[in-house]
Amino acid sequence: MKKRGFGIGCMSYGIGNTGLPNPAGAFVDFLDDGTVIVLTGCADIGQGSSTILAQIAAETLGVAFEDVVVVAGDTGVTPDAGATSASRQTYISGNAVFEAARKARQEVIAGAAAVLGVPPEEINLKNGRVWHGEEPTSLSIKEVISKCRSEGILTLGHGWFNPATTRLDPATGQGIPYATYAFATQVAEVEVDTETGIVEVKRIVAAHDVGRAINPQNVEGQIESGCSMGIGYALLEEVVVKEGEIQNPAFSTYLMPTAMDVPEVYPIIVEELEPTGPYGAKGVGEPALVPTAAAITNAVADALGLRFYDLPLTPERVVAEIKKSREKKEDDGQ
């Protein structure tokens, strides 16, 4: 018989390393052709940090995203940004790039103020142009930078950011482990075959508070992939170790989800802006995976009326638990 169930998983997750300094630095050089070079130690492993950092620099400097070149993760030339881990790079390297770009921007604004003869605080940079208040002027950013260079002024900046944390008290465990947190709730719908024990995830709805979604498509990608990894964690993936040796070191024995195992995922982005984040952004990497297995396990409990305490919920485990509960009912004379 096939049984359906729904389950919810909720989580909060600290962004950055726990109770430790974990700074990141960046350099931004605004060149006289109006293009920008960002130097960052932030390694983009596919999550899209180089795209995000280019967007932050472009937004801050008032130029097109396409005009920003990100040089990332090259220890020969880039400043330390710490690890791409702990869901921290958008928040921490994002802030470092924002700060570096802000300083470069100040140089351009000072130059533009001198040309236009207006106070710097009335000047804005947008779409490659210098703006006076709400109005574009005839002056381009490129022209201002050329003028600065002709006077020997370089329009560059450096920045770094370290989240405000404290070390945890070894006696009480108290302190400020993270400067900000991500929050999420996921709902899973499953169908369980009570004969074979196969759990099929039919749908996942995943709502994530990420602060500002600097690149919504990228955030969706992170959420969808987190759900896929969570399905693996809930149903498939198990490292079998015997006398210190991994027994299943291959994709045919350590199963991870294929396209056939992943249902439609409906990401919902919740933008609760983080005051200390770059443009209000936090992080989404690990949070996307955290609640999925709980939601699926709760959905299986809803379908079968049975609680599982060991992952993954392999067909063998599910069938054994169903059998055990039947036998118990028979013993109880039900």
């Binding site: 492993i45 596919g46 990608g221 987190g226 291959a250 294929t258 439609e264 995922v265």
Partner: protein
């Protein structure tokens, strides 16, 4: 060991090379022809990163001995963009955000191409099955499936326009 004289067509061009007959097709593509778009993942036919099209069929090039490709036609990811113009699948992958680390992408695009070559109107289930031999850890497959759907509708629209 005597060298094996391998002649095959790769991305439309005739290729003749003398190779160690113990080489895999994957090694000839990457090490001899320097077509490094084809990736080696697991090396045992489980991940699909080394997928290429051999006489119209998707194969794991790590499981094909190079001499088996004699006289056959191989298409790698480098041969998918005709005359520098991206294939609709490649455009759709970029547009849908279907690429993250990129390691599975060449194999995914070739797997999807074989599907669309045989079935221009695949549903979600058929797309999932067609790419189920290609593992992806980054994307969760959602945007890859969406990209294949976008490409299928574009190819259909182009074919419709061409026949008008």
């Amino acid at each position: 060991m005597a060298a094996f004289h391998l002649e095959m067509k790769v991305n439309g061009e005739l290729v003749a090379v003398d190779i160690d007959p113990g080489m895999r097709l994957l090694d000839v593509l990457r090490e001899v022809l320097h077509l490094t778009g084809t990736k080696e993942g697991c090396g045992e036919g489980e991940c699909g990163a080394c997928s290429v099209i051999l006489d119209g069929e998707l194969v794991d090039s790590c499981l094909v001995m190079a001499p088996q490709a004699y006289g056959k036609e191989v298409v790698t990811i480098e041969g998918v963009a005709a005359l520098g113009q991206l294939h609709p699948l490649q455009e759709a992958f970029i547009e849908a955000g279907a690429v993250q680390c990129g390691f599975c992408t060449p194999g995914m695009i070739l797997a999807a191409k074989v599907l669309l070559d045989h079935n221009p109107n695949p549903d979600r289930q058929e797309i999932a099955r067609a790419i189920s031999g290609n593992l992806c850890r980054c994307t969760g497959y959602s945007k890859i499936i969406k990209a294949v759907e976008i490409a299928a509708s574009r190819i259909k629209a182009e074919a419709g326009a061409a026949s008008d």
